[in-house]
Amino acid sequence: MSGKPIDGPPPLLLTGTPGERRRRLVDKLMTLLARLAAWLAVAVLAIVVGSVFVKGIGAFNLDFLTKNPVPFGQTGGGIADSIVGTAILVALATVMAVPIGFLIAIYTSEFARPSVANTVRFALDILNGIPTIVIGIFVFGVLVAGHTQSGFAGAVALAIVMLPLTARSAHEVLTLFPSSLREAGLALGLKRWRIVLRIMLPTAAGGLITGVVLGIARIAGETAPLLFTTSIFSNFGITTNVSQALPNIPVTIFTLSESPSPADHEQAWAAALLLILMVLILSVVARTFHERSRNRLRG
């Protein structure tokens, strides 16, 4: 930045009174520290993702993705059952959370008085702040205690994590909806519900989908809500029965990471590589998409 005199006084450190020199020195120092902080964060990301990649790539192969786990003590095997389980859990949670989240967003952005809308959004922000392990305990108390763990209970817990995220992002997209379009609809004699369903949602579709994808990226890696709802698996092999506990990638990584065996650690790293690839790709795609749809809505 030293080449840009517009941002501050001349860059020469040795001119001026001692007081001026000190001020410039402090300025340089603080600039350096801010730069270091930003690079530190990027470096930590690179180190964590790099470690997962280096340690996971060894066991990451077709067998790992397509085979089921082998009994304890044997080598080989894969996490096919966990991949299927996570897909089912995430899909089910998305189907539950998205309609309710969108309806809440329609209410807060279209129908509610500002004070009511603010109260609803405040409550959802607080819901978003509840530790996910407590949400796991809640679903355990309602659906698991007295029964057994089930994929359905796990999906409900993930849906509760996803609901406030979806509602908030949808609200933010829907409030960008140009009032000129709404007024054009009203002037043509269209009713509110038609404007919402036929004009508002299609116009905002890009932003809405972005929010959903970010929500999916978030819940795909959630472990805490699943510990009390779908973590104790009775049978080996791929199951699609949501009334039983479904094996899933996050809980598999968690239990493998607690194991003392290096072979299990290798599997944990490979599973972590799969999960981190999924999550990072979803996040990056959603964010790039987000910018584009936002710019389009703003015209």
């Binding site: 600039t31 801010a34 930003a38 990027v42 329609i106 922000d125 530790p131 004699g189 009390f228």
Partner: protein, 322 residues
Amino acid sequence: MATRASPSSSSAGLFTTRRKLADRIGDPLLWGLAGLASVFGVGLLVWIAITVFQKADPAIVKYGFGFLVSKGWDPVAEHFGALDFIWGTLESSALALIIAAPISIAIALYLTELASHTVRRPIAILVELLAAIPSVILGLWGILVFGPFLNDHLEPALQNVLGWIPLFSGTPSPYGMLNAALILTIMVVPIVSAIAREVFETTPHDLKEAAYALGATRWEMVRMVILPYGRAGVTGAMILGLGRALGEAIAVTQVIGNTPGIHVSLFAPAASLAAQVASEYQGATTRLQASALIYLAAILLVISLIVNIVARLIVRRSAVHP
């Protein structure tokens, strides 16, 4: 649209009646469904609180509020206390926040004031991606990579230089409070820096230019304009980050050691509320133990509700999200 001429007038009539009917139900129906969904969302919050407290009730009845200040966790003797865990939660989160706050503010300042247009967005996205790493993976990295590094390099080095401070005494260990606090720092930084950046971006340009016009250096402008202007918002952001750290269960349970006890040394294993709940997910054998575990979750719920409500009120008042 409804009165548009159509080749066949009878079908147009049918079309308009059906349309009118749909319009008559459509508005109240959508309004009702949307309102119902909102009531459900708000009600869910209450439902969660009631259920957690109900399930904790046997332990609340047996141990009362003394649970909050009693130490030890012995399932065999049915002696349960929450103090070790409350302390562990508060200490690990506070440490994480103390380390994360200056780093996050520096990142936010870098992104708003220093970074050129070409690197600004990529770096902002990379910092936010840090928040996207699933906590179980951060925990895995914490035990298998970061823990050994702490044990072999960082903790001995800290001890050499700062060993006279009791915090850095004791034997280095791959698990423990320091590991947990640093892993939490990694989780908190992206959250705080993202909100702080939004706050700093709202600083009026004329104020910044006024400071420059008075001959301020960039740092002096930051200190005299941006930081005071964003104080409330940044405070809110930090409390939100604290809320995130308090509730983290998985990564903490992987790296903190899960050994109840209050130690001065940061190297020593410890335990936290969320981590203890997560670590005993398969292990609760008696109804009382399960209930005591849920009592811990209830305490965590109350702490995080208070922290989040305070943070949201502050952030909202500072009008970051208009």
